[in-house]
Amino acid sequence: MSENLKEAVQETCQSCGNDRGRLMDIVRAVQERFGCVSSKALDIIAAEVGVHRVEVEGVVSFYGFLSTRPKGKVVIRVSNCVPAVMNGAERVAQAFADELGIEIGQTTPDGLITLEYTACIGMCDQSPAALINDEVFTYLSTDRARRIVHELQGQDEPDPAKLVHKLGDGNNASDLVHSMVHNNIRQEGPVVFGPDTSDEALKKALSMTPQEVIREVKTARLRGRGGAGFPTGMKWDFTRAAEAEPKYVVCNADEGEPGTFKDRVILTERTDLLFEGMTIAGYAIGAAEAVLYLRAEYAYLRRYLEDVLRRRREAGLLGKGICGKEGFDFDLRIQMGAGAYVCGEETALISSCEGRRGDPKNRPPFPAQKGYLGQPTTVNNVETFCCVSRIIEMGSGWFAQMGSKGSPGTKLLSISGDCSRPGVYALPFGVTLDEVLQRVGAEGPIAVQVGGPSGQMVGPEDFGRTVCYDDLATGGSVIVLGAQRDLLEIASQFMEFFIEESCGYCTPCRVGNVLLKQRLDRIRAGKGEPGDLDYLEQLGQTVRTASRCGLGQTSPNPILTTLKNFRSLYEQKVAESPDGLQPSFDIRSALADAEAITGRKSVHA
């Protein structure tokens, strides 16, 4: 067996050229084959690739989908993202657990099935949902969960793919995707889901100079669709102007912000438009290579994406002399992630592409100067690349006349939560939240979470505000919260998400978020004091100000924005103690250890 492990792991390393930069691929493959990257495997990989064992251990222990301890042949990961929990994900997880006879987080004694929670898997519009190995299971019920367990246990060789009976719409039903995922495109709009025009934009771009392409993107005033809204043309200019060669294009397909799933639909239905945009970016900045960083949760799309790449290579749209353009060579590879929200941060994403822990890097230098492999790199969002294709095809004027002044164009919104028509909506920037809510069939919502947990929770008095970079900014996530929801509970769940997903590199994010959630939960339990509100505010500001990357800087937002917009919910929960004792002090539990040691009860409590 151990000989088998050694040979197999060495073979895996060799198939990746013993390349340190492909460590992610190596450890993912070992995990898939052996159910873990064991201590022995760490040693074998380190020796084979020529790195230190602790570096390999550092990578494996960073990502949620990798582990040094054995997991079952089948891993069921139930998403406990807030919209999923609102739709009953916890009941579904419990049904799985009961049927398997284990607790959540455990593996069945026969080593067959592991059950665990995972963060948002990009299926909030069809939740509760779970990943079973790489397969996606949507619209789960407790009954369905029990049936899945029966079917898995009845198989000779467990194969979750055989449990996928009804297929979704569009390309989800194709042989290469073969998934039950639904697109739920509710409003197509003219940009990303506009008519398919088969690479007209690429041909047009190649008839222009790279500078003209960048100028067109700048004139369209396109801003990054991932959420931060940095002007795309400017980013490309910086990357093009950086002196070092080679340069790289990286596509951030790691959409992990809870409540976001629009990139999933683009990857499924507008794959060519995306690759076209990436190719145009390569031409514009002078890059010959690109990486698409695909989150592990979307592994079910990989075969299909690879096939589109193959087709584009055959059609001369990738490879050497693209579209007959002498000297323009461009190709791209897919890098799989392994379960880490922080990798959506562009420098963390680059670290991960390099086969490292997904710790963000210090900035400066910015990726435009020193990015992937230390070379000038532009990192753009999936939707941004698609917008580029349309801008080149239709012209910057066409694009810029849509949307609002500071935020031209349309935005894909991923809408989930308490509404009758969850899904993807292409809406012009500047649309009011009220209009959005009407469109999605939200009845009497008490709050909306705009921009996911890192965004803000707003109440009805803010529903007249507009979705755009200068008002309610969002990378796409809009979660509708109905009257039955406990907003502080939701804030607490969001804080738990950040605690789980913090890389832990810097102090404020690693420690501060734990402290924030602890105090919030104390208030929720009715043990809060009036001073706790200032405590939360001050601690939240410290985390926001002093954290190292965008994750940490936005991580206290669930608390800071509810403190601002729903202060009365907090105030109702805190009170001066009538007896002057701290409400959070429980003398019984404080004495418990001493009582256990002495073997007698305290006379004072």
């Binding site: 602790v54 997903e501 832990g504 404020p508 690693r510």
Partner: protein, 243 residues
Amino acid sequence: MSDTITFRIDGVAVTGRPGQTIMQAADEAGIYIPRLCARDGLSAYGACRVCTVMVNGRPQAACTQPIAEGMVVENDTEKLLEIRRGIVEMLFVEGNHFCMFCEKSGNCELQALAYRLGITAPRYPYAFPERDVDASHPGIFIDRNRCVLCGRCMRASAELDGKHVFDFVGRGRDRRIAVDAEARLADTDMDAADQAAEACPVGAILKKRVGYAVPIGQRLYDHQPIGSDIEARRGDADASKSE
């Protein structure tokens, strides 16, 4: 490019060289910016965030941020002091720090920072984590109860010793410093004479058998607060100017 850069820290004009960080230029000018993960001779890491300053109104880590002409830096302000206190208090409650029992007391940068920043007791509740001690190595022990995850041992090992004895594993609150072996420091190529053994700001990596060689009362920070050596340079600079 000009060979000097002039900028301001709390209104004081500071001259530095291109490529310097705010902290490096401030150190030369005799202005102390509190820090924990930064150490002379090691690459900047930016993890502890104690050196957070405001640069043209935006927060930045002084240890990683390069200087630029005309930059306006705020360092010694009540707001930043409050943030720094908060961060240092977080480090105290995150681990298990018992100064009165720790042989590093008096030489400990975390303790000295707390004194300098005026911390008497942390406002946050203690986490009391369970962490392990590795005493396997004949010359060194690791007590992770006191580790502040600054990465100084890791950088010293890689950058000064040419080894890779330490690195981080885990994520978030489970992040911890690990050794390049299955579990024990003794199974790595760590030598007691390595720079990595000297780099720890707290009592997480200590040499054996020298714990009380320097008695309490004669230790580094027993008489002068941390940063005094840097501030003394400012006195020298002022004195030389007035001559």
